[in-house]
């Protein structure tokens, strides 16, 4: 197990190194830089002034020097300074992280709470009216983009209740009820879509397991439906479900752009898009690295869970 984890960590580090190169290169390949944006807010461009600002920000140096400098800073825990805000990048990124993590976790929780039970019911009641209704429900979730659903929720709230959630982040220590309300609606909007995927995977996986001999044996032994389904069938059907949950959570860390934007939540994804538009390299590079770390960790966690769920899965050695 230790060897396996060590191997995975080495692979993770190599992946992060690769990611850092890709994001660094992609940012430089995109047309324009922060200085062009600054001048665009002033409505003119002066080549000499542009050169001076590039020098001030250090983006006139060769790319490899900039890359090495970034790596060196990362290793010392210094994320550099935001070009746009002229403040340490960490100071700007730090408050965004919990918002996105909480929203992603809550969305995933909703997705699991809705997706797994409906998937099980749908499989157990295969080809019944209930199955068709639940499949329709999940198909609707897959078909509806989260941003559309989010906008419909906002418009519905304002039209019927003349109310919308708070416009800035409310800390749970400040007002727990309002905080819950602020996160509940976007989490439901996102969670519904993810739940549809989980429901379909749960259903198909469970249907497959239900046809296995050991399930027939369990039925033959006279065990109750609850025991057969929840203890024997579902546990074995969960491996692909857990994989999907892990992927969904990782996807949500960077994929909440529109939901955060529509609900005006100051999270990582919303800020990342703004930082990309501003070519704020220190912010973009470090936020992408943060997302990469979360993706790698969640994948690692999923792999670890395999062993817990299925004792036959053994690692390394």
């Amino acid at each position: 197990m230790k060897t396996y984890v060590a191997q995975r960590l080495v692979i993770a580090l190599l992946t992060l190194l690769g990611m850092s190169m890709v994001i660094f290169a992609l940012l430089r390949l995109a047309p324009g830089d922060i200085v062009d944006i600054l001048f665009s807010t002033a409505g003119y461009v002066s080549p000499s002034e542009k050169q001076a600002i590039m020098k001030e920000l250090g983006i006139d140096r060769p790319y490899w020097v900039q890359y090495v400098d970034w790596m060196r800073q990362m290793l010392t825990g210094d994320l550099g300074k935001s070009y746009r805000y002229d403040q340490p990048a960490w100071q700007i990124i730090r408050p965004l992280v919990p918002v996105t993590l909480e929203l992603a976790a809550l969305s995933t929780l909703f997705a699991v709470l809705i997706g797994v039970p409906t998937g099980v019911i749908s499989a157990v009641r295969q080809d019944t009216t209930l199955d068709y209704v639940l499949r329709l429900f999940s198909l609707a979730g897959l078909s509806m983009p989260a941003f559309w659903l989010a906008m419909v929720i906002i418009l519905g709230l304002v039209t019927w209740f003349a109310w919308i959630p708070p416009l800035s982040y409310v800390s749970p220590f400040q007002d727990l009820k309002l905080h819950a309300v602020q996160f509940l609606l976007p989490a439901l909007a996102v969670g519904y879509r993810s739940s549809a995927l989980i429901m379909r995977i749960t259903r198909s996986s469970l249907l497959e397991v239900m046809r296995e001999d050991y399930i027939r044996t369990a039925w033959a032994k006279g065990q109750s439906g609850r025991v057969v389904i929840w203890r024997h069938a579902l546990k074995n059907a969960l491996l692909p479900v857990v994989t999907v949950i892990g992927i969904e959570f990782a996807f949500l860390i960077g994929g909440l752009v529109v939901t955060e934007t529509v609900f005006n939540l100051p999270g990582v994804a919303r800020f990342l898009v703004q930082a990309i538009l501003w070519r704020d390299y220190p912010i973009v590079q470090n936020l992408v690295m943060f997302i990469a770390v979360v993706v790698i960790l969640s994948n690692l966690l999923v792999d670890m869970l395999y062993g817990v769920l299925d004792p036959r899965v053994r690692y390394g050695g």
Partner: protein, 544 residues
Amino acid sequence: MSRVRIALLSITILALAALLFAPATSQSQTPQASPTPKPGGVLNMMLREDLSQGFSIHETATISTVWPAMPCLNNLVLFDPLKKTESVDTIIGELAEKWSWQDHYRNLVFFLRKGVKWHDGQPFTSKDVKFTFDMLREAPDAPAKLRINPRKDWYANVEAVETPDTYTAVFRLKKPQPSLLLMLASGYTPVYAAHVPPADYRTNCVGTGPFKVKEWRKGEYVEYVKNPDYFVKGRPYLDGLKYFVILERGTRQAAIQAGKLDVSFPGETSKTAAEQLKKAVPQLVITPFSQNVADNIIMNMKKPPFDNVKVRLAVSHAIDRRALIQAVQQGGAVVGAGLAPKPWGFWGLAEKDLVGLPGYGAKPADEKALARKLMGEAGYSRAKPLKVEIVTRAIAVYVDMASFVINELKQVGIEATLKQIETAQWHAMATRGDYQIGANLTGVGPDDPDANYYENYACGSPRNYSQYCNEEVMKMFDAQSQELDPKKRLALNFAIQKRLEADAARPILDWKLDYFTVWPHVKNLIPHQSIYNFGRMQEVWSDR
């Protein structure tokens, strides 16, 4: 109680309830200054994006900075916040108690207020005035330099800023320029503190203004609290201001509708959006006003085919301005030439004066026929059409306008394809002249000819994207700038605008209107003739 009495009582109660709970009828179109302001309350407002350069107004040319940064700062003079018209007659003193023109408009003397303090407690003096304006005009001995200085040209005529004593500042001009005062009254012209490095304004604000920055949560909000030491006694009325950054337009509109926000953003509300809001919440107060932003066509005069005035004029004749206003702006704009027309502006040509100028004829078909004739004279025909690439910013308001223009040009034998340019590239491309023809938007700070002409039409100006340069017209710019008689100056300006359109220097398509929206309890927030000049919030109060 008899049945009749019960019935009467019920009717009375119902009538009273209806009176109490019925939606209030719309207020007058323009929020009126109220005689009995109430202190207290916090105003919630919106921003479409975060402050682009913090509070450093001098380093930007965008309303996204001016609007939320204005409450922190003061000018020497300002357009009266309570009057919607902006002219010399509506200028009031801020840091200057009085001012006086001397030596036939060659010296502008400001007598400064005493006892004014910066938010960090330092006293305000004439040293701050000299510091700011030497920095802006990039005087050789200026103690500081701005990273980006978009309005340097405004101060090209200032020879020196002198400070004979602590509370007097004198602007010595190279030649008379009465309109300098109007530029000094713009929201774009605050005074910075001499003891604070200009770069610091990008992250914080040390001003003398009615409000002090409490917190700027990046990408989230800017919060202000009342400045208790403000030099105008009894002001501001409000205890605070909060500007929320809301990137999604639908959310911004929902927030206004739900009453989470008290005020819309200047330049935010189109006519259609205003109508939707009014339908949903009839009591909202909606005031149409000029954004002082014009849709226009830029054509690179340094390169063929637009170095040929006939081709430029053909383009101008081809575009039906009135149809554009209906189709693209849904009626939320007005026709005009180089400056916004009355009542939205002061200096622009009225619609009747536009007749006869390219593109303003009564019959669009005749205009298009004329355009085709000009194209023929320039050597183009149906068999040999002119093929061009029309550039525009990759933003919906630009693209919509450009698409309309392409369709119009097609009808006169100009085959244009659209190329969208990302914001990061747009100004660099336009300044370099790396384009043939473009669909553009131009905002003007104060509604004043000098601010517009020298920035957008003068030889060598970096914002003169068409690279139009006409020495004769430059002399006309100078003549109107130095003209002391207001009537003569207006007449000169009419002549200049006609000349610019006749030269197809930068054909103006329309002047956009905004439908500024506030809740009825917001008092004394009166939109001006320009979106850039009424964000001080000193006089605003909340009647909750």
